[in-house]
């Protein structure tokens, strides 16, 4: 870039600071500082008031306590389950949907697409409450079905049962975000060179082979992003779980963030809660670094 002002670098620097300052101050104050503060608090047994003195210093005890807490382990394994279920079910289904409906437009295809995407835009809390109605044990969809097809009169309480509550909540997560991934894939499909596909078909490749050898490799960028967002998002799930049962029954649907809220904020255990936050941050950071190194970096080869 050429230098635009004759007044020289000094004035440029001043103007630069003027332009940057508002965003810089807000960002430093409310985004960067709290993360470091959290890291510091996590070393203390602190209720959020009074001085942080030596007596309250715990070192890494909060973290040790965390990994000995059974509900924390439930929370972290729930987050890992969300990651695995999303990668194994949600994203492949989104991809199949994209293949089936995203390639050719037909009457109504635009409307259909906007209906798929709508849950993504919808407020998480509202989505959660809607599904609470659908799962209602007295008159919910499953109870209706079981009454219709069998003579059984028993109510099916998916959300009230610790064995099924988490699966029921995952279905809502599946519903809420699948449209987003599908639209990403539809965008990615536009970039697949048609000639390559035709050439593969002429060479005798069947449908699966075309998908595996032509379409998937050309969509690598979009899939990389979709997986990344899905994993990071899975570790930060809060609203839907909160709306459907606040981590209950008996903490069976706790995730890292609901755990942070229930065991940190609610009990004014700011040191302990901050340790949870640091775990979330650390998991996302490590994933990000490994992902950049092995997956994103790899494509340059």
């Amino acid at each position: 870039m050429i230098s635009y002002t004759k007044e020289g670098a000094k004035k440029n620097a001043l103007v630069f600071i003027l332009f940057i300052a508002p965003a810089f101050i807000l960002f430093t104050l409310f985004v960067v500082t709290p993360v470091f503060q959290g890291a510091y608090y996590s070393l203390f047994n602190w209720k959020g008031a009074g001085p942080l003195d030596k007596e309250k210093f715990l070192g890494l005890d909060n973290f040790i306590k965390l990994f000995h807490d059974k509900y924390f382990l439930t929370a972290i394994s729930n987050n890992i389950k969300i990651v695995i279920y999303s990668l194994c079910f949600q994203l492949p289904v989104a991809f199949i949907f994209a293949l089936l409906i995203g390639r050719k437009s037909f009457t109504g295809s635009i409307l259909f697409r906007s209906l798929y995407f709508f849950p993504y835009v919808l407020t998480e809390i509202i989505g959660g409450v809607i599904w609470k109605f659908i799962y209602n044990p007295q008159f919910g969809l499953l109870t209706q079905f079981s009454k219709f097809f069998t003579d059984a009169k028993n109510e099916i309480a998916l959300l009230g049962n610790p064995d099924t509550a988490f699966g029921a909540i995952f279905l809502v997560i599946f519903w809420k975000y699948i449209g987003f991934h599908m639209i990403l894939y539809i965008a990615g499909l536009q970039g697949v060179p048609r000639e390559l596909e035709d050439a593969a078909v002429i060479d005798g490749a069947n449908g699966m082979q075309v998908i595996w050898n032509v379409i998937l490799p050309s969509m690598r960028n979009v899939i990389t992003i979709s997986v990344f967002l899905s994993v990071i998002g899975s570790f930060n799930v809060f609203d839907i779980v909160w709306a459907m049962g606040q981590g209950g029954p008996v903490h069976s649907t706790e995730t890292l963030v609901t755990y942070l809220y229930n065991f940190g904020y609610k009990r004014f255990a700011f040191g302990y809660g901050s340790a949870v936050a640091i775990v979330i941050f650390f998991v996302c950071l490590v994933f990000n670094l490994l992902y950049q190194k092995f997956i994103v970096g790899d494509k340059d080869k």
């Binding site: 050429i2 635009y4 002002t5 440029n12 103007v15 630069f16 332009f19 940057i20 508002p22 965003a23 807000l26 960002f27 104050l29 409310f30 985004v31 960067v32 709290p34 993360v35 503060q37 959290g38 608090y41 959020g48 949907f97 409906i101 037909f106 109504g108 259909f112 697409r113 209906l115 995407f117 709508f118 993504y120 919808l122 407020t123 998480e124 809390i125 509202i126 409450v129 109605f133 008159f139 969809l141 209706q144 519903w175 987003f180 639209i183 990403l184 965008a187 992003i225 967002l229 809060f238 609203d239 942070l260 809220y261 904020y265 700011f270 901050s274 936050a277 979330i280 941050f281 996302c284």
Partner: protein, 276 residues
């Protein structure tokens, strides 16, 4: 030829069925609001017979919190968007159109923010707001939401400004302009598409934000729509027709926003992701 037609038909039917399944929960809610209390229990997923608008009238009447929630959500989201756009554009110009050493460093510093989800910082933020006297204030929510939306917005805006040809800036300077005039007279008018992308991203994020106002706002008079829905469904735990009507009205603003601007919304949200 025949197999192609069958394929096409299959595609249409498949799309229609899945679209219906995806939209079914929302349809259930909308219909639920029009049902009488008896029918919501006896026939929760059917068509309202007879449809009644009584519940809606009741909620829109003065006794309910609906209008207060709507106002608060509009106020907080509007203010958040304004701050992000103004601060973000200024920073974007600084990072792309002014030549200074260390620019890249500042840019990377902002991008660092993409790694910090709000949830990670929430407890220290609570304490920080408390010491600033901003607990229980809408401005506390606005400032934090704006701060957390800055990184992606700055990233998108800077990328856009970088692609504006230098010749335009040179021409402006030759005519005696400064960076301020260039910003006001040339960059802002050129930026409509990127401003709308950022607006959409920030709108959806801020409108749906739940955890932050949950911690910051305790007075129900300041509640936003997500908080209000959560509270309402707790209060009217057995009046599902009321909850349904309330939810229907609560999702109306974002539904209108989405269905009117859907092309831009879908593009904005996915392009934001792809670029981020």
């Amino acid at each position: 030829m025949k197999s192609k037609k069958i394929k096409h038909l299959f595609r249409v039917i498949f799309s229609a069925v899945t679209a219906f399944l995806m939209f079914f929960p929302i349809l259930t809610v909308i219909m639920g609001g029009f049902k009488e209390k008896g029918q919501i229990f006896s026939d929760p997923f059917g068509i309202p017979r007879p449809p009644t608008i009584e519940t809606f009238v009741e909620i829109l009447g003065s006794a309910s919190s609906y209008w207060v929630l709507l106002f608060n959500s509009i106020f907080i989201t509007g203010a958040t968007i304004s701050i992000v756009i103004i601060f973000g554009m200024l920073a974007g110009v600084g990072l792309s159109r002014i030549k200074v050493p260390g620019q890249q460093l500042v840019y990377n510093y902002f991008l660092l923010g993409l790694l910090f989800p709000l949830t990670v910082a929430i407890l220290p933020l609570f304490l920080q707001l408390r010491s600033l006297g901003l607990i229980g204030s809408r401005f506390g929510v606005i400032l934090i939401e704006a701060a957390f939306n800055l990184p992606l917005s700055i990233f998108i805006l800077t990328g856009f400004f970088k692609n504006i040809p230098n010749e335009l800036q040179d021409a402006c300077y030759i005519d005696g302009g400064t960076i301020f005039i260039f910003f006001r007279k040339i960059l802002i008018p050129l930026s409509t598409p990127v401003i709308s992308t950022v607006t959409i991203i920030v709108f959806v994020a801020s409108w749906n934000q739940f955890m932050l106002p949950l911690l910051v706002l305790s007075d129900t008079k300041l509640y936003t729509i997500p908080l209000g829905v959560m509270q309402y469904q707790g209060q009217y735990a057995s009046g599902w027709n009321q909850i349904m009507a309330f939810i229907t009205l609560s999702m109306l603003p974002i539904a209108i926003f989405y269905f009117i601007l859907q092309k831009y919304v879908v593009e904005g949200l996915t392009s934001g992701a792809i670029k981020g």
